[in-house]
Symmetry: C2
Subunit: 224 residues, 2 copies
């Protein structure tokens, strides 16, 4: 099985939750590799409502799904994410202390941590149907993970699933009070980031850094 | 004691958490009254970094505190919030099943629910100091509420404090994993909103409404 590379964090999905996780992890120096079944980023924003307005993204009285996706991609760009489009995740296994994700083309990606940001399911484009997209249960739905209310059950303080080192954020996850809102996915990405960076740094943990005051954060984003 | 009016929800503070709560509650038809010690909205954004850039507000690669405040005010404007600036909350008491908030000018506001969005403390402008602002422990710090790690302890699923019907969001609150990030305050406002609307609606609870698909939500925001 050929290896597509090593990443600090492997993210399954490329919707708003995944894209904001790229940025959150990136400001702490963690590099992400995203795997997305479709040929582009955006998830539901791109598939279900590219031209439809969304009114409940904080500080945007109105924004289109494509515009939101573009802005999140731009925000995460300085963090140097790696994208693998058009491939789906098949199997996830712990190999020598790292996670190995097998893709449907026989390749694999290795990573220290995994974030499942698979939304409400996998979108597929049936051959021959121009522009048509259908929601199908992807292989992730078969993985051995505790579930609740149709979602992947997580610890609400860390977004960790029942498999240590595997996290779930956005519409894919469930915990008491869970709301399937884009703004909640952003918060979940931030909480998962803190847990991952704590484990990654071990004892060398720097304090939480704020973008308004941390020179290191601004330097990583290419800002003065 | 003269009454400044009745509100569905009374919010102490007018920073990003409070402003986004106005919008979240508003899309479910709940009217808010905000009390703010300063003479304007924005909280820390306005006081500590009006001209400084923030890089971690989702979908904004860079935004100033004043710009963020203005955008949140605009997003919540169709929800018709009432603002009382330049006054601070002194005492909170349950009177005939409603919350009564006494202000420092001897007036009072009545509401069914209270959200404390008091941030890291009360900002005050000492007389004679032009443009100077200091952080002081406001009366809310003396109220009888369970606390943890310096914050007001809340149920993470609902953001409710130890006093039923009183919620805390943003930097003022604490729960396992709590991060003092603006994006977390937005999520907390959304969770508190769901709990308040459930109690307010009683058995007549409509389902969670999404701005992309709900005509009622769009009508409340003055959109077609």
């Amino acid at each position: 099985m050929s290896n597509r590379g090593n990443a600090d964090v492997l993210i399954v999905g490329a919707g708003p939750a995944a894209l904001f996780a790229v940025f959150q992890l990136g400001i702490y120096g963690l590099r992400c590799h995203l795997v997305e079944r479709l040929d582009r980023a955006g998830g539901q924003c791109t598939v279900l409502y590219p031209d439809k307005s969304i009114y409940d993204v904080p500080a945007f009285p109105e924004i289109g799904g494509d515009d939101l996706t573009e802005r999140l991609l731009r925000q995460g760009a300085p963090c140097g994410p790696c994208f693998t489009f058009g491939r789906s995740a098949v199997e996830l296994a712990l190999v020598d202390g790292r996670w190995q994700l097998d893709l449907d083309d026989g390749t694999a990606i290795l990573a220290g941590y995994v974030i499942l940001a698979t939304g409400i399911g996998m979108f597929d484009m049936p051959p021959g149907e121009r522009g048509g997209v259908e929601l199908v249960p992807g292989p992730v739905a078969q993985w051995s993970l505790d579930r609740s209310r149709g979602g992947i059950h997580v610890d609400p303080a860390t977004l960790e699933t029942s498999r240590p080192g595997v996290f779930a954020i956005g519409d894919a996850c469930d915990y008491p009070g869970k709301l399937k809102l884009i703004l909640s996915a952003f918060h979940e990405a931030a909480l998962a980031t803190q847990e991952i960076r704590k484990r990654h740094a071990g004892t060398r943990l720097p304090a939480v850094e704020y973008s308004t005051t941390s020179r290191r954060v601004r330097a990583r984003l290419g800002r003065s």
